[in-house]
């Protein structure tokens, strides 16, 4: 288990894919990747392409697919594109500004054999009502 700073943000693929629909495979693939610095990958023995579990301070967690970041170096930080998966980890503490902390929060990261949940299941697991259709 290792501590990282989580950065979530826009990516071009996410921007394009969301126009194609948030249930598209393309969108799912993009918003469930966790980009890790290559040196961190080495240090923590993570096999790129395998799944990792990210856990926030309040215990909320998601499983994502690890990938070697193409924007390295950024040791100590991992990047997830905006989306409902990143949302699970983000804190709603606004510091009196209204703005939750989408960037710069601390998370724990560990390899896992658990599967990445499809969006529908992710929402069902985390929220009080499921999605329809």
């Amino acid at each position: 288990m290792a501590r990282f700073i989580l950065l979530s943000g826009r990516s071009l693929v996410q921007g394009v894919a969301k126009e194609a629909g948030k249930f598209s495979d393309k969108y799912l693939k993009e918003v469930t990747t966790c980009q890790i610095d290559p040196d961190d990958i080495k240090d923590f023995n993570i096999e790129p392409g395998t799944n990792v579990r990210l856990t926030a301070e309040d215990g909320s967690s998601v499983v994502l697919k690890s990938t070697q970041s193409s924007l390295a170096p950024h040791r100590g930080s991992v990047f997830i594109p905006y989306g409902p998966y990143a949302g699970i980890l983000i804190s709603s503490k606004t510091g009196g500004t209204g703005m939750p902390s989408f960037k710069g929060i601390t998370i724990e990261l560990e390899p896992t054999t658990d599967e990445v949940l499809p969006i529908k299941n992710l929402l069902e697991v985390n929220y009080s009502r499921g999605i329809s259709k």
């Binding site: 700073i5 950065l7 943000g9 826009r10 990516s11 071009l12 921007g15 394009v16 969301k18 126009e19 194609a20 629909g21 948030k22 249930f23 909320s60 970041s69 924007l71 390295a72 170096p73 950024h74 100590g76 930080s77 990047f79 905006y82 989306g83 409902p84 990143a86 949302g87 699970i88 980890l89 983000i90 804190s91 709603s92 606004t94 510091g95 009196g96 500004t97 209204g98 703005m99 939750p100 902390s101 989408f102 960037k103 710069g104 969006i119 929402l123 985390n126 929220y127 009080s128 009502r129 499921g130 999605i131 329809s132 259709k133």
Partner: protein, 431 residues
């Protein structure tokens, strides 16, 4: 086949207005644009949508008549003690005006998605102001461009070519411009910069401060600040001071990370101070195509840009309390209408938990994730594609968006749907 030119793109806050759209029958068949997001938007806008209103019955969304769906939303808003109306960044100013009217009528908190993008920029702005300019001024004059905590190559794909380093203006060739990118990662934008400065996450405030110190010739009692060497800080300061016309574009990398509104206060202060030596401006990189318009409309109608509590029949503005995330995390609201936004796809978990535990209605062209979790969904026409309306570019220039194609049968623009809701609310209130 019709070719429509000078079409505004509802893709992002750049609001490029040189798109060419070819329409054949009831379909957009070709889009001439240099932007992948724009092309994807015009070609895919019609997917993933319902052509009839939906209501949740026994846990499933089923097709429902429009009038009944309007009635349900009206009743939901009237009944609630503290309704929330959220969204607005992907619709027209005309719809945003109707939103204020509705919020006033039902005593709601009305907020736009500024609250989760540049809300802190506005809070910083309240304290210090902002030396800024339109994007054409940048194109015409700027010889130094700084991108801080933003990544236009991915999020505003034509920004660089249309307005900044790759553009040519009256007084400036593209070859005369220098670009500095300051970010936590070496983004695609950073790769194209003359100078990339990698700042440690959450240390932007410290770096801005150090640059100010270098400008003021103050000695820095450190070897590096925010992971940046003093030498590089001094080099940046010198570039800022000695340019002829500089501009700092900042993105959510600055508004969302530690320091939030104070980061912006500090960055604006830097831009103001630089005017002692040169001409310097600062511009926020606004994301959604009409989030700027939402701030403008809200402000001219109420005096405040977002997070407006109309529960007492007048605009009350208390960011930190009346901001959507704060309302949701305190579980204050007991019903929500979401329009032209998809909070379930972006909001923090406990905010979404509360949002989805109370009556929820959605007006949106798409079947968004929020729509899938709603009680009532009314599909609407795509602003800038299926209906016209005003939008404001990130630098505050108002433009009238064109309609290039008819919406599917029975799908109305947001303005008309909102008008129906307002009318129904007044009927139910006996006015």
């Amino acid at each position: 086949m019709t070719v429509i030119s000078a079409v505004l793109c509802p893709g992002c806050g750049c609001l490029c207005d040189d798109t060419e759209v070819t329409v054949e029958g009831d379909q957009i068949v070709k889009v001439q644009s240099e932007c992948a997001v724009s092309t994807s938007k015009f070609l895919n806008y019609n997917k993933h949508r319902s052509t009839t209103p939906l209501q949740r019955v026994n846990g499933e969304l089923v097709q429902s008549p429009l009038n009944d769906s309007v009635d349900k939303i009206a009743k939901m808003l009237i009944k609630a003690d503290y309704p929330l109306i959220y969204g607005w960044s992907l619709t027209s100013c005309e719809a945003q005006k109707k939103g204020i009217e509705l919020a006033e009528e039902v005593g709601a908190v009305i907020d736009n998605s500024t609250t989760v993008c540049h809300g802190p920029s506005i809070l910083g702005f309240h304290d210090v102001g902002e030396p800024t300019c339109t994007l054409g001024e940048v194109r015409g004059r700027a010889d130094l461009i700084v991108y801080w905590g933003c990544n236009p190559s991915s999020a505003h794909t034509r920004h660089i070519k249309r307005y900044t380093s790759k553009s040519t203006g009256k007084f400036r060739e593209s070859s005369e411009r220098k670009v500095i990118v300051i970010d936590v990662r070496k983004t695609p934008t950073a790769k194209g910069a003359d100078i990339f400065v990698q700042v440690e996450p959450n240390k932007d405030f410290e770096l801005i401060t150090a640059i100010k110190m270098a400008l003021q010739n103050e000695e820095i009692e450190e070897k590096s600040v925010a992971g940046v060497s003093i030498e590089q800080i001094e080099e940046i300061a010198e570039m800022l001071r000695s340019c002829e016309f500089g501009v700092l574009f900042f993105g959510v990398g600055l508004t969302m990370s530690e320091g939030k509104s104070r980061n912006i206060d500090c960055a604006i202060g830097l831009a103001q101070e630089l005017n002692q030596w040169t001409k310097f401006a600062i511009i926020p990189m606004r994301g959604h195509f009409n989030v700027t318009g939402a701030n403008k409309v809200f402000t001219w109608q109420t005096g405040y840009p977002f997070a407006i509590d109309m529960s007492r029949g007048y605009p009350k503005y208390d960011p930190g309390q009346t901001t959507t995330i704060d309302v949701l995390s305190r579980k204050y609201n007991d019903a929500t209408l979401v329009i032209a936004s998809d909070p379930v796809a972006h909001f923090p978990k406990n905010a979404v938990q509360h949002l989805t535990s109370k009556p929820l209605a959605v007006i949106d062209p798409h079947l968004s994730l929020t729509a899938y979790m709603a009680d009532v969904v009314i599909p609407s026409a795509f602003v800038g594609i299926e209906t016209s309306g005003t939008a404001y570019r990130m630098d505050g220039i108002g433009l009238i968006m064109r309609k290039v194609i008819d919406p599917p049968n029975g799908i109305l623009p947001d303005t008309e749907i909102l008008e129906m809701i307002i009318k129904r609310v007044r009927e139910l209130k006996g006015e």
